[in-house]
Amino acid sequence: MAAVAAAVAPTRMEFLKLKQRVSLAQRGHDLLREKMDALVIEFFEVLRNIGKARAGALKQLSLAHQAISVCSAVMGTIETRQASREAKRELEVEISTRYVMGIVVPTLEVERVERDALARGYSLHTTSSLLDEASKEFEKALGLLVKLAELEESARAIARELERTKRRVNALEYILIPRLKAALKFIEMRLDEMERENFSRLKRIKAMLEAMA
């Protein structure tokens, strides 16, 4: 507090300037507060979606793992791996960015995850149909995972921004505004004190003048 008091000159000019700064800070604080509220709403929306997407993706993934285990058991592990090496592996994900309240959030899109057995590229007559099943399950899982990745990344981006906004709101609320207000009060007190001093000084001069007359 003392540091604040020492830093400002107790003048009327400074008083007005400070008053303006307080109102500006207050307005900024209110705006940031609103932004924070909106972000929280957005955040929970995304979280709800994540809950759903995650459950679906996990289920599909465990199905896929089951399918590949069965396939490995029937066809043989080495043969399965061999087929996976032969498979065409050129899946492409479309990634672009969008803005949610000024935050950059990636959107992931995949055109066609699920292929038919011929498009996969492994030899059909040396592999079991279980391999096709397993591949299909994994393709489905991959599609869900891509969506999930988008949601999780959005949640993370929003959370980061939320944290930053919260920090700014708190800095304004608990540090900047109280400090400015303390400075205001200091100047006000100081000005009042000066007025009182002046008043008694005038009184004394008047008394002296009367005594001389």
């Binding site: 993706a57 592996r89 995850v113 999930l148 959370a159």
Partner: protein, 112 residues
């Protein structure tokens, strides 16, 4: 823009995703080599999504978390469960909520 997908996981996960058309798969052997591979994936311009299984992410530990904090917008990294269905007890997203929203963590448990 089109990007490729990479997977880091155990042999079965890698095989499965390779069958699904994922371009880069890496089978985890030990921490150092996986970290090197992950760094390579993260630095690559053509990879847009990296899937890594939970147990491996956990084994990489602090280095992995540091990479996640420092990373650019792309590639997106997603942790998935492996064939054991293992999911860590401490959900990273819950931690995130706890940190950012504080006490409101209860809200999600009711709705989700």
């Amino acid at each position: 823009m089109s990007y490729k997908v990479a997977v880091i996981g155990d042999a079965d996960t890698a095989t499965g995703f390779a069958l699904a058309g994922v371009s880069y798969t890496y089978v985890h052997v030990d921490k150092d080599r996986t970290l090197a591979k992950l760094t390579e994936f993260m630095a690559s311009e053509e990879i847009g999504l990296v899937l890594i299984t939970h147990p491996i992410a956990e084994e990489l530990g602090a280095e992995f978390r540091r990479m996640m904090r420092m990373k650019k917008l792309l590639p997106v990294v997603l942790r998935i469960s492996d064939k054991t269905g293992y999911i860590p007890k401490v959900d990273e997203l819950y931690e995130l909520i706890k940190r950012t929203v504080g006490a409101e963590i209860v809200v999600r448990a009711e709705e989700g």
